[in-house]
Subunit: 197 residues, 2 copies
């Protein structure tokens, strides 16, 4: 599998002061999204239908096909903030995996991974995504409902409502500086019964 990574963009913009998501609150069309490649300062805006071609053509984001794929994020040692991004085509939709290395606490970079549907929040509710790390006799699985790219990936990550890895754990799951993330998408089942453990 060919790893794809958004180039490491050193940003000095304090995200909590100037959230890049706010600027689409002002537009008329609620389906008009800014560029979803988070750490790029990309001025692009467009409708949902053309997000995929923008990401492919402008940012060279790869698409992987299949219900279960493995995304290999290389060069995990790159300094924060860095994003690794891949598109995942599955069940008739395109999903965006964002793996971000970020220093939420100064001097302590962490990794945050989440999936966004390139579609509406209502469509996103129909799916469940699973991220799985498996190495060195350790296994970590995160399952959740994807967010829509109409929402804000930065807030998902700053809320920590995603797979979160400390550097030490990321190293345990890495092989030669690369992290293999197993990704699976399924249509949602009713979670209510399971919630009542």
């Amino acid at each position: 599998y060919a790893p794809t990574r958004c180039a490491a963009v050193q940003t000095s913009v304090e995200q909590s002061i100037l959230p890049p998501c706010h600027h689409h609150e002002a537009v008329h069309d609620p389906q008009l999204v800014p560029c979803t490649c988070p750490l790029f300062s990309c001025p692009w805006e467009g409708h949902l239908e053309v997000v995929v071609s923008h990401l492919r053509q402008t940012h060279r984001i790869n698409i992987l096909q299949g219900a279960e794929i493995v995304f290999l994020a290389t060069d995990m040692h790159l300094p924060a903030p860095t994003d690794w991004i891949i598109m995942h085509s599955c069940l008739g939709h395109q999903f965006l995996l964002v793996l971000r290395k970020q220093e939420k606490y100064e001097g302590h970079p962490q990794f945050f991974a989440t999936m966004m549907l390139i579609g509406t929040p209502t469509q996103a509710d129909n799916f469940t995504y699973r991220l799985e790390l498996n190495r060195n006799q350790r296994r970590l699985k995160w399952e959740a409902t994807p967010r829509s790219v109409l929402e804000c990936v930065d807030s998902v990550i700053s809320d920590g409502d995603c797979l979160v890895l400390n550097t030490s754990l990321a190293q345990l799951f890495s092989d030669n500086g690369s992290l293999a993330i197993g990704i699976a998408i399924t249509t949602s089942k009713v979670h209510n019964a399971e919630d009542k453990m």
Copy 2:
């Protein structure tokens, strides 16, 4: 299931300066362990065979039976450092679940959960433990080989080689201030094939 919690002990001892584990390096008998109830300043030492009765009698730690159990950790809002501890009797052995709230980064408490076998490291290698959180349409699973209580729970936690939860994620998985942790122990299978994803 009755929740059991080691009372919240406010400790001002800097663990990296004075690790409580060091003092068993000096003893003659390598199977002599200090009290494994981590945040208590308990002077007790004894052989593996009597650790369980010490924990039950002195620290009132409960034992839950069964291959799969649910441990309900209550009062997750208590200030760090706090430990929640339960013993799990399963497959002819006793395991110790330690859930710790700790401020690795000042002002940002995190939760760390791991299982230790009340037995030797060689015995521990025969098992796999799984911790699972499941709520609000999110699921997080951590699987690993338990450590032996002859090793040091503090180093497992400071290395982050365990289930790690940010406060925000702990809240998403909590119900009314309580965190239900599904625990399962199995005998180890060979992970090598799975490691080569």
